[in-house]
Symmetry: D2
Subunit: 453 residues, 4 copies
Amino acid sequence: MPTSFFNDLLQTLTDRGRAILGLPRDVVARGNVVELGEHLLSGRGEASGVALARAVLDSYAAAPLAGRLSFLTALAERFGADRSLVEKAIEAYRKEPSEANLHALHTAAEARRQELMRRLNLAPGGTAALVRMREELLAHLSARPDLRIVDEDFVHLFSSWFNRGFLVLKPIDWTTPANILEKIIRYEAVHEIRDWDDLRGRLEPPDRRCFAFFHPQLVDEPLIFVEVALTGEIPGAIAPLLARKRTPIAAREATTAVFYSISNTQKGLAGVSFGNFLIKQVVEDLKRELPNLKTFVTLSPVPGFAAWLKRERQAEASDALDADAKATLRLLDEPGWHEDAEKAERLRKVLMAAAAWYFLKAKTPKGRPVDPVARFHLGNGARLERLDFLGDTSPKGLEQAHGLMVNYLYALEDIEKNHEAFAAAGEVIASSAVRKLLKNNAPSRAVTLIPTD
Amino acid sequence: MPTSFFNDLLQTLTDRGRAILGLPRDVVARGNVVELGEHLLSGRGEASGVALARAVLDSYAAAPLAGRLSFLTALAERFGADRSLVEKAIEAYRKEPSEANLHALHTAAEARRQELMRRLNLAPGGTAALVRMREELLAHLSARPDLRIVDEDFVHLFSSWFNRGFLVLKPIDWTTPANILEKIIRYEAVHEIRDWDDLRGRLEPPDRRCFAFFHPQLVDEPLIFVEVALTGEIPGAIAPLLARKRTPIAAREATTAVFYSISNTQKGLAGVSFGNFLIKQVVEDLKRELPNLKTFVTLSPVPGFAAWLKRERQAEASDALDADAKATLRLLDEPGWHEDAEKAERLRKVLMAAAAWYFLKAKTPKGRPVDPVARFHLGNGARLERLDFLGDTSPKGLEQAHGLMVNYLYALEDIEKNHEAFAAAGEVIASSAVRKLLKNNAPSRAVTLIPTD
Amino acid sequence: MPTSFFNDLLQTLTDRGRAILGLPRDVVARGNVVELGEHLLSGRGEASGVALARAVLDSYAAAPLAGRLSFLTALAERFGADRSLVEKAIEAYRKEPSEANLHALHTAAEARRQELMRRLNLAPGGTAALVRMREELLAHLSARPDLRIVDEDFVHLFSSWFNRGFLVLKPIDWTTPANILEKIIRYEAVHEIRDWDDLRGRLEPPDRRCFAFFHPQLVDEPLIFVEVALTGEIPGAIAPLLARKRTPIAAREATTAVFYSISNTQKGLAGVSFGNFLIKQVVEDLKRELPNLKTFVTLSPVPGFAAWLKRERQAEASDALDADAKATLRLLDEPGWHEDAEKAERLRKVLMAAAAWYFLKAKTPKGRPVDPVARFHLGNGARLERLDFLGDTSPKGLEQAHGLMVNYLYALEDIEKNHEAFAAAGEVIASSAVRKLLKNNAPSRAVTLIPTD
Amino acid sequence: MPTSFFNDLLQTLTDRGRAILGLPRDVVARGNVVELGEHLLSGRGEASGVALARAVLDSYAAAPLAGRLSFLTALAERFGADRSLVEKAIEAYRKEPSEANLHALHTAAEARRQELMRRLNLAPGGTAALVRMREELLAHLSARPDLRIVDEDFVHLFSSWFNRGFLVLKPIDWTTPANILEKIIRYEAVHEIRDWDDLRGRLEPPDRRCFAFFHPQLVDEPLIFVEVALTGEIPGAIAPLLARKRTPIAAREATTAVFYSISNTQKGLAGVSFGNFLIKQVVEDLKRELPNLKTFVTLSPVPGFAAWLKRERQAEASDALDADAKATLRLLDEPGWHEDAEKAERLRKVLMAAAAWYFLKAKTPKGRPVDPVARFHLGNGARLERLDFLGDTSPKGLEQAHGLMVNYLYALEDIEKNHEAFAAAGEVIASSAVRKLLKNNAPSRAVTLIPTD
């Protein structure tokens, strides 16, 4: 239980905050964030740094939206590198292209906001405040592309502060403190947790597990968590896993660990990925605890499928769908089709073939799979193992993927190879079963697939 | 007690290490560190990164001295920035000096070794291994100034990883695990701890305290620690504080907290300072625990005094010493002078005046105080409070400072002001008592001193 | 947080259970609890004791009701003292009435079931199983008075095992593990906790506290807990304290700590009292944490008032009520009277006078106060401070006490004196305000009351 | 690590002590322990019980020897049962020998000191104070046999309070807090631990283990501990196990766990045995951690051998030694014989045969083995596995056993059977190798030994 340690740490941090050393009080009183930032940056020493950093962050938090936005703008415009120093460094490097001069150029070209962020991070609660600041920044980016350079500095620093070595994996279960558990309820992004009973059903039964990454600086805040079901086989639908009145099995009898939900909790850490590490470590921890586990697999949503299929159906010329397929797919427009056994059966083959195409052949402009969940798991070195027809018949499941779910398989011995093939050549590693679905659909097209099974 | 958490974390890290995923085994087998490093850096993803980082660090640790030195050399020569990219970035920036192009130049000019170090840090035990690597690097620097650029990158990254926000202050006492305590014995650098009984005498009595900073990545390793005596007045000598058979006082009766020993433990973290934070936080924690404490003061060695005095005595023209003083100081050359009350009394005035000069007027070429301990405490915002004649008559104390010790006073309300005066104008903040010693000596010279008391 | 320790302990206990040493398996297989018990008791050593005790308890738990009842009956009938040994011991004592022979008589007269219970207690989970066994026994007592002797032995042993020295007080808050918190929800007996949000409202606000006693042998089981509200004055009604949308105050501003709910959780520990210790220790802990707290008071239900009043109203001759009072009290029979300001006002004086009589003069046959909650707090040395008209207008509050609540005041300096007066002379210590209510009602009767304020 | 919990608990207990409620101060001031005891016992409630109990214990601790002895005497003489009540209870029982009357007789015959001890146990630190009180009592027993009845009540209560269910097994290692470790050094009773380095040599190497039992009421006090060496075979001598510069083996390579030292720490708990439980639980824990361990064995001293042998050598007629044997054994009187290979070899056979007789045939008047260590391990169900000639050539080892050591084997599957045979029939379970040694010596005597191997 990390809590007592974390609370301890929190206490330490909070107490430290009381030591507001002698501040330039008029500046603080006026609460001019930018001026405070300049003051913090210009400080020759650390004597008042912590208190000043705290003042900057407090001023920011207390400022109205316009004030906060002007601070973010100032970060972009006024806390860049000193251009005259950059010029001098370029000159010096060109005159003598030594390693030392190159290093000096690197230093001169570093935006001053990076050092400012480092100093803000010294404040008690500083890391959390900066993560929230970036969350706000991200919301502005589409309207304010000029702020993107600030975001790049955030990502650079966060990648260092949240590097894997600082993350601690902890099991989440029914003995976990309630203040952590309520965050699991709040942050679950894949299959909503309705209330505490629902939560308990995912944590307490012997065939359920949950794990989260914590960071010493974000006390009592899980950064990412994964929910796991222990089963006797690879499941093809989510509802039985979440059923309230199911009969659990003994953990030692399980052969399969199913990752059925992975949720990031901190929007401000977007792009600083831990999911990759999380899954691999959970695989290892579970293997050690339960040697009977042989199969590690996800049961995943397909968030982009319905939108893609709609486009293909509307396209005059679709590589993915021929006229017959389009005709059959009209059944999708009839409400309740999934509860009509006959309609569903007619749709199955066509929909599965289209799905195979979606995963194996549909690409983004950069040549990567269209589906974001697929990109994540394939990028981790998983294999697309199975497509699950009507795996999720909840309104959300029907809307985003016509009920489709998929299983990605994590085979530790193949992860490296799969990852390299995907990263280097863009190959989508899929089981022969998935590939066969494609062949049925489009035998005439040449698809290069490496034989992975 | 952080230990169970730290052990937990250690276990986590160790376990993770077992997961050596599919490695390019021939490279590992050959153990070519540089090649491994390139491989690690070129990796497109993180799939094998942890295992590879572990392999690089293991190869380095297992290599002979020459091999390790060649890796350090390679870090300097082969893992700098890509100069062609730097050229292009300069051109682009000159063509269009936008923030984005400046950021791109900064990125291009970053030595590749920085990213390499970040990736090595992902290995279990990576941080500790990098700290040891830098310790070794520091030992080579005087002979190999070309490696200094590598050191600068180490300092840059360590400053980020070991920033104040990640450090946890913990009391060290007689209930602390033995494996931590033996490190306190080993690392004590000011007043040697001879054995466990000696250690207990510094931890267990009610008027003794000890605090250390820990970092989540260096398990069971105190980074820096301070030993504190609670007393009724500012002490003028170390021996009574360390006496084995003294009678302790109740903590609540103490009015003064004396920091009589501060030791850094990690040579590889030289220049990444925590001492400043440590003292200030300990002051606050003690104030909270014991509201009766009014005075926070050090009892500090004067490591540079004897050497400086020797130079002054030998100098033909000394501003600090006149002929009379030099004559009297010859008594210092007589062994056992400090045990001869009459000789000691004759020396007292002259020696104290010279010491005042040493602290207040002697400067390094950069205009800073000659004494390194003075630079540390004055830089923290402390005040030079008192000079203690014959404060340390141990062989070491006599040799390095003719027995002189000093007290630096930490008055929280003045710290900021003192620090600024010292940092901005190089002013040595001293009590009037210390300043008077100087006046007696050299009335004719104008010394600008701000009135601090 | 005791949990990790408790879990640790639990693990230890559970693991130990695996070591079922060589058992007389046929006995176990047949599951004859009584025979197993005899076997356990006859064991010459402890070698197989733990496993055998486990087997007895498992057999008991698995037996049907009739089997369990027959075991309890056997405890009464077959596990008493050996009467022939008792006879011999009496003879020996009469012949030579030495201390040693008296001790031998004591030993001979001890029911064998006591030793059996002690040995059962050695099993992992033994204490919890015995507590559950007694809970079942209590349910049989009214129909089976012959089992009362078994109950006395339970109480004797439980008083030893659950003595104050073994209990650990722990705060319960929103960082407490969920498996503990759900028991708080389940066991709250005074003011129902409806759901987790309701629970949070009682734990998380800065002006709320909760404390529970734990015992090392009943892991994760609070034995008794008290809910506390920090307020600015003595509250006269429960609804504002429990209101969901109230505005909390800062803990440091509170002057009054209100114990508004105390719940025992283990029926099997009935008669083994901890409440007394709990309140006193919570008073001390709160005083230490919040020196501003001056007043420690309950807001308590009056569970016996309505029933008593009904009897008095129906009695032809009531000392407590005269004809006028009876007439007025008929308003109580009109539904919704408490929401009718005029009716309520007419009732107030009469009802309060009757309540004063109820507390101060109504007695059980043994001469103790009729109200069980009054007996508890007065026995603890508290003072009856104030009667609160319409303090609890919930259906339960109206039904059991016509809305009446009361405040008992815990003044540490008077507790001993109050307790002694109550215990020795049956005096009900009450404030003058409460006593005045009585005088108004029955001025002609002499009531001896010590002047406590 | 139990420490934080224990410290927490300690804090709780200490804090509680501050609440010295209203005491009868004159009694306390006069410090009459007996009077205080009567007061405590006569208390009608618990209101002042804790404070009063503390006062009794403090008065006792502060009293001079004579005062303490008079309190112990008073426990025997004045706190026995009330004899008139006993008489009445006997009469009632004889008139109607019901279970209830028998229970009443049991209650009446209970010495009042038992209840007094229970109430003293409520004080903070009460349990520890009572354990110390009994330690003192034990020292008086031989001179004051009248106090033995007090001791019996102590044992009765301690057996309840320190029953197995309340004990927590914890590993002791180099991460254990120093305040616990110094007690391991102090209490080690078999093979002295000279200093902290010696201690470390027994805790830190991978092939060493140590375990202790703790009790929640005796904070930071191990009650009993066992030191374990992991080896490749059953060792025949202690010196190699304790050698400072030995090369440890990996724990996973070990096949044998050797219990080479078991020490009780609390004299006041003599006769309240935990050793039995300790060894069995450690066997189980080690088996779980290290499945390769197949053999669990002690390396034990033979404390009574030399004294017994001396008596046999001096006896005119010895069943154990014939004239030849006596002649050979004269070599034992020559100093340094054990370092003279030839003498040692001449002695070996005779000494080993005598030792076999000592273990297998020499009996106490009650028919039990003469050797106390043998009684302990055989009573636990262990088997006498091997006699080790010159196993301990330290001065102590030579003096008490002419260098002899022995191995007792703990085979979990035989423990119950061995224990029963020993407990029921007094059979000494020994390996055939040990029995053969006896046969060689005394073939003409019939010794019934069950074939255990």
